[in-house]
Symmetry: C2
Subunit: 253 residues, 2 copies
């Protein structure tokens, strides 16, 4: 199977590196805006190209920022091939009608310095033409054991769920660390608890694992905690999440 | 070293089980309110006692609910021994003056069915009499490699930080799962992302690891997400945390 990659960001980089190790996938071309952006792909330099020189492949993967996916897909010089994007939030329909549309979305956050174990990365697939299911699944199964077929609406909802499960939890960690730092408590004291929390939420339903003063409706402790917080932002956030928790569990406000 | 435990909850249970395996610690008595509460301690039955029959030990650990720690400490029939409680939020001062006061707080959540690897559980110690530092540290080091000396004010702040790092993150997982369930998306799709988030927050500063629309100040995406949420509670929480994030990172509100 021949694959093209358009893009030079984290997703493009990790996919390119992985494809190069797979015997059943041939990375045909990697396409970036500028020689500078292609620098990390130096091992693959013989394959780098500008978009107007891109040749057809079984799958062409557009791994660029959300806001340029549509225009990049319009610039592809060939037609009637399978062209997929890798975004969680852009509907498949945004791709150009010149080619067969699809989505190849890895539900994981990537950064350049991380090693990615693709085996455990959930890959969410979507395709316009049912005949492309086989091709896209085959490519996905080469990378991961965790393949899902989601439509664009589901993928967008997954992306919103990820804001809660990733962005918002990370921000709670930031607040926790801020409190620790203010009182000269090593943040590492909370690490085992953080790991345990995520392990329990995965093994059981987080709904059933909830503990703490708001879960119990313990307004005394909530008030004590709020009185001890040092910044208005901490207070507002503590109140807002506690209020939501109290409502969720039908406790008195 | 001889140790008594007062209490029959999760912390008491896990401590008792662990002490029984340690060659250098002898669990002298376990003390609970009723025979029913002591049922899980059946292996230790020869050691169970009611509080009026409790005999002195090197360390007597009160592992009961926060609201009865003070009264239980008053009921102890001996004096001038080291008596510690295991609570994150109760000041050491709440213990009865009859005995030497201390705190032995495991900063981890326990449930009956979990196996606890005490080696990684941070133990937070406090003591009134400096001479008890050695005794309490020795007991702690028998259980864990992760020992910290915190005063009551720090321990309370740690407890507040834990509300953010455990209670609030778990609630974010609950919201994420709710969204997944509503749209027939397996929650397991988010598991690798959840694990990665916690791993990054521990390895680096969560403050620096923050991503997402609120971090970028991307009001378009925030509005799109809010428009797609299905319950008022989800909307309120999404807005509140995003507002806090925008403020924290100095973005326009």
């Amino acid at each position: 199977m021949q694959v093209n990659i358009i893009g030079t960001g984290n997703v493009a980089w990790h996919l390119a590196k992985r494809f190069e190790t797979l015997p059943s996938v041939r990375l045909k071309q990697v396409c970036g805006r500028s020689p500078v952006a292609l620098t990390p792909f130096v091992d693959l330099a013989r394959k780098t190209a500008s978009i107007e020189d891109l040749k057809p492949a079984d799958v062409t993967i557009i791994a660029v920022s959300d806001d340029v996916i549509a225009s990049v897909s319009e610039q592809i010089p060939f037609s009637n091939q399978l062209v997929v994007h890798t975004s969680g939030s852009i509907p498949m329909e945004m791709l150009s009608i010149k080619n067969r549309k699809g989505v190849f979305y890895p539900a994981q956050s990537f950064s350049m310095e991380d090693k990615v174990d693709f085996k455990n990365v959930p890959l969410c697939l979507e395709f316009e033409d049912k005949a492309d299911k086989k091709l896209l699944s085959e490519l996905a199964l080469n990378l991961s054991e965790n393949i899902h077929i989601l439509n664009s609406a589901q993928r967008q909802q997954l992306h919103i769920a990820a804001v809660f499960a990733n962005n918002f939890t990370n921000y709670c960690y930031t607040m926790a660390k801020e409190i620790c730092d203010e009182h000269r408590i090593p943040f590492s004291l909370l690490h085992p608890l953080m790991e345990k929390t995520v392990a329990k939420a995965m093994a059981h339903s987080p709904q059933l694992m909830q503990t703490g003063p708001a879960r119990r409706g313990d307004h005394n402790v909530i008030e004590q905690h709020i009185a001890k917080l040092t910044s208005q932002n901490q207070v507002d956030l503590y109140k807002a999440i506690s209020t939501s928790l109290l409502k969720h569990y039908g406790k008195e406000l």
